[in-house]
């Protein structure tokens, strides 16, 4: 059966569009979650939307599993291949089809890189707001599949809040168009349902995005605190005051030192915690809010506060934060980054508990997070060359996520469930909730071929 499939596939795709040699497949065996590896049987690189539809229809006919892949930056193993199936790489669907600056809309193919959208919009005084730290590499299609967030989603939301329309191919090969160009719609919000469905509902081909006017002014502050607790309290005070910053980020000492060694952003390396707060918007409003912000920070116990005086200084502050995950590679051969969410007033307590868990396991954790929305990123650092360390790190990572749920939070704020957290779904959802979700996937993907094995506990879905 599979040989018939490959025969047909080879007739449809030739040359560098179809990869089958092991050496060609290895780059696709893993994504950002490097602890998981699986070799697909083949990789197909379509160059047109119609080719994607053809492949999916072929896969459906032969019941061959497929995994769509953008740039493979997923931190939850969302594009881990299925060893019985193929990977469909979308990077060549990289055209920005249209950009309507007057109506603030861009229509892009799913392989377009996130930052390229903002770059294309920039000459018109516009930008695409969702800014995951991988934005220079990750694709819009991947952002849609996982409802990507980023540091600036506190004020304007995640990917889902910026997608107006999606043209997608369903697992059975049917093409659908959801939503449109308007901010408003009629009928159930199926665009909203598709975003974040982790590839289980098919493959997005073309996406209509909304663009925002570039903020006129920014006020970016970097404050150093002797402890994480004080930094967390400062965030709570800022939120309680009614200010709505564009971003609020915290990094712990371990992270700050790694960042300085790697990026040299000028962070104070003796700080227990560093807080970045960024106000953005209309000049006069930002200036007024900045006065309020300074008052709050000055009374919050920060011992070193500086504000960016120009765009260069602002970029440097962000360079450190956005380079944090990469910088951790300097201080540890491997790490697992987690993504749990806690209610904001639990931040201090959650971090204290992470610290004691870290000591209990004897494994270091470097904390970086979107303090404004309670989205933690504990990076569990370990040496993967040491026997048993991967398992220990995974166990600690899971413990941290369970702790988040116990505190009324969520298992994932923006990285998605993928492979990595599927065993934790039952901590957050009841058996019944999971059954309901499976009803939907079974209806949309009766053959179980679209990114199957992801998102649900292993005993509920066909394995990879």
């Amino acid at each position: 059966m599979y040989t018939d499939f490959v025969d047909e596939l080879s007739k449809m795709f030739t040359g560098d569009q179809l990869l089958t040699a092991k050496s060609e497949l290895i780059p696709y065996e893993s994504d950002g979650l490097t602890a998981f590896k699986a070799l697909p049987r083949a990789v197909v690189l379509p160059e047109q939307q119609s080719e994607v539809v053809d492949i999916v229809q072929l896969c459906h006919r032969y019941s061959v599993p497929f995994v769509a892949r953008g740039s493979g930056t997923s931190l939850s193993g969302g594009s881990l291949p299925n060893t019985d199936g193929i990977v469909i790489g979308l990077n060549r669907l990289n055209r920005i089809l249209s950009l309507d600056a007057e109506q603030r809309i861009a229509v892009v193919e799913s392989g377009v890189i996130n930052k390229n959208v903002s770059d294309a919009a920039h000459p018109y005084g516009l930008y695409y707001a969702p800014d995951p730290s991988s934005q220079g590499v990750c694709t819009i299609g991947g952002n849609v599949a996982f409802n990507a967030g980023g540091a600036h989603c506190l004020k304007y939301g995640m990917t889902s809040n910026h997608v107006l329309g999606i043209k997608a191919v369903l697992p059975d090969g049917n093409l659908v168009e959801l939503g449109g160009s308007s901010l408003e719609s009629i009928g159930p919000d199926l665009v909203g349902l598709f975003v974040g469905s982790e590839g289980l509902f098919g493959i997005a081909l073309e996406i209509t995005l909304r663009l925002l006017p570039l903020p006129e002014a920014y006020r970016t502050v970097l404050a150093a605190y002797p402890s994480m607790e004080l930094a967390g309290d400062a965030v709570a005070d800022i939120v309680a005051s009614g200010l709505l910053p564009g971003a609020m980020e915290i990094m712990d000492n371990l992270t700050v030192r790694a960042v300085e060694e790697s990026v040299n952003a000028g962070y104070p390396i003796d700080a227990g915690a560093v807080l970045i707060v960024e106000l953005e918007g209309e000049s006069s409003a930002v200036e007024e809010e900045f006065v309020n912000l300074q008052e709050i920070i000055n009374e919050s116990g920060a011992y070193n506060v500086r504000s960016a005086r120009n765009e260069i200084e602002r970029h440097l502050i962000w360079k450190g934060r956005k380079g944090a995950f990469g910088a951790l590679g300097k201080i540890s051969p491997a790490y697992i980054v987690q993504d749990g969410v806690v209610p904001r007033n639990q931040l201090g307590a959650a971090l204290a508990e992470i610290d004691s868990l870290s000591q209990e396991y004897g494994v270091r954790v470097a904390n970086v997070f979107h303090a404004g929305d309670g989205n933690l990123h504990p990076n569990v650092l370990f040496d993967n060359r040491e026997d048993g360390m991967l398992e220990k790190a995974e166990a600690l990572a899971s413990e941290i996520v369970k702790m988040c749920v116990r505190r009324g939070g969520a298992i994932t704020g923006e990285h998605g469930v993928g492979m990595e957290k599927r065993h934790l779904m039952t901590d957050m959802f009841s058996e019944q909730d999971i059954n309901q979700m499976l009803r939907l996937t079974n209806e949309l993907d009766q053959k179980g071929i679209a990114n199957s094995g992801k998102m649900f506990p292993a005993d509920r879905v066909p394995g990879i």
Binding site: A101, E102, R104, L126, N147, C153, Y156, G157, M158, S160, N161, L170, N174, V176, L178, G180, S182, L183, E184, I186, G187, P188, D189, L190, G192, L193, F194, G196, P213, E216, G242, L244, G281, E282, S284, A285, E288, V341, P343, R344, N345, H370, D373, G374, G408, A410, T412, G413, H415, G416, M428, F429, Q432, D433, Q436, M437, R439, L440, E443, L444
Partner: protein, 357 residues
């Protein structure tokens, strides 16, 4: 008519109703809450109450039949609000009905609409079971986005029982600048220009006669300067403040401009398509208001529903009947029944206990 008082009773109703169920909250959107045939009306007025409110987290959870006014009052006491101006609050709209119809008011322009504020949902599906999705934190991507699915779903997948929403700190001062652009074409050109400025407009509405209104909200200390700056964008600016300003926007939120016996239709649209729509409606007896930077057209229609249905189809636009008489509320090219929608329907209401899409 059935009036369940608890979620358990809702489940019983779903299991025992003998005809397709039509769900009603406050009954304010009459086209969507009035039976056309022998539907079983399920009235959720008694499924009301705040289950949890955490002002420091900017989150609340309420039963779906809770009136918007009760919610607004509660949030107001803590200097918080739902910024998207949920409409028809004064005549008794409920939070469940607002989300099930997917209606947002002029404030949707600034921070987003109902879909951007919903965090969690529980609903009773066709088999009487509870489906839940989302979480009680502002950021979560675990599981499928069932909360968003419920927005605009008009009870086709089940009965919403409980909703969690995020709220924002309430703006304490407002002001509006109004211009007369002379006609709809100039008004559209001006609206498009205003949409791309870095001015943080709270609302941006226009009318057929060329009137454009831009609303600002924020700190009282900077409001006058910002209004002055906004006024410079075009000659003839008129600044409106105080109670008159508040009433102006209430008038729009509550559809007080809609004459009695007129139907009300919501048409999602983009600015470019407005002049043509307006021209087609101009010599018919109709009222039009264009909101959210030209992304919604509200049409007050005095004629037959079939006629507006045909007109919208000819213009390749879709509409939702909010007030009026029609068996199906989807008008024009509103393509609600797609392959995708059909599969979702079959997942949650295989036996069609609820109305069809």
């Amino acid at each position: 008519m059935l009036e369940p008082k608890s979620v358990k009773e809702v489940q019983e109703v779903v299991n025992t109703a003998s005809t397709a169920m039509l769900i009603r909250g406050g009954g304010t959107k009459t086209a969507l809450s009035t039976p056309y045939g022998n539907e079983t009306v399920v009235d959720l007025s008694n499924l009301s109450g705040i289950l949890e409110y955490r002002p420091e987290e900017f989150i609340f959870t309420a039963l779906s039949g809770t009136p918007l006014e009760n919610i607004t009052e509660m949030l107001d006491e803590n200097g918080q609000w739902l910024p998207f101006d949920p409409p028809m609050a004064k005549i008794g709209a409920t939070i469940g009905g607002t989300l099930a119809t997917g209606l947002s008011g002029p404030g949707r322009y600034r921070f987003g609409g109902a879909r951007d504020f919903i965090l969690g949902v529980k609903w009773v599906s066709g088999d009487g079971e509870i489906v839940s999705g989302g979480a009680q934190v502002v950021k979560n991507v675990a599981g499928f986005d069932f909360p968003k699915l419920m927005i605009g779903s008009l009870g086709r997948f089940g009965i919403i029982s409980e909703i969690t929403l995020k709220v924002f700190p309430k703006m304490n001062s407002f002001g509006t600048v109004e211009w007369d652009c002379g006609g709809i074409d100039s008004a559209i050109t001006f609206v498009k220009e205003m949409t791309c400025t870095p001015i943080d407009l709270f609302a941006l509405d226009l009318e057929s006669n060329g009137i454009v209104r831009a609303r600002l909200g924020g700190l009282s200390t900077t409001l006058n300067d910002r209004l002055a700056r906004l006024s410079e964008y075009r000659e003839g600016a008129k600044i409106i403040l105080g109670e008159i300003e508040a009433n102006l926007w209430d008038h729009l939120k509550e559809f007080l401009w809609l004459p009695d016996d007129y139907s009300l239709i919501k048409v999602p649209i983009t600015p470019d398509l407005i002049p043509q729509l307006d021209a087609c409606l101009a010599d018919r007896q109709s009222h039009r208001k264009y909101s959210v930077g030209g992304n919604i057209a509200w049409i007050g229609w005095s004629g037959k529903i079939q006629d507006i249905d045909t007109l919208l189809s000819e213009l390749n636009l879709g509409g939702l009947l909010i007030i009026g008489d029609s068996k199906t509320p989807w008008l024009g090219t509103a393509s609600v029944m797609t392959v995708f929608a059909d599969k979702v329907k079959r997942a949650f209401d295989a036996e069609e206990r609820f109305l069809p899409l």
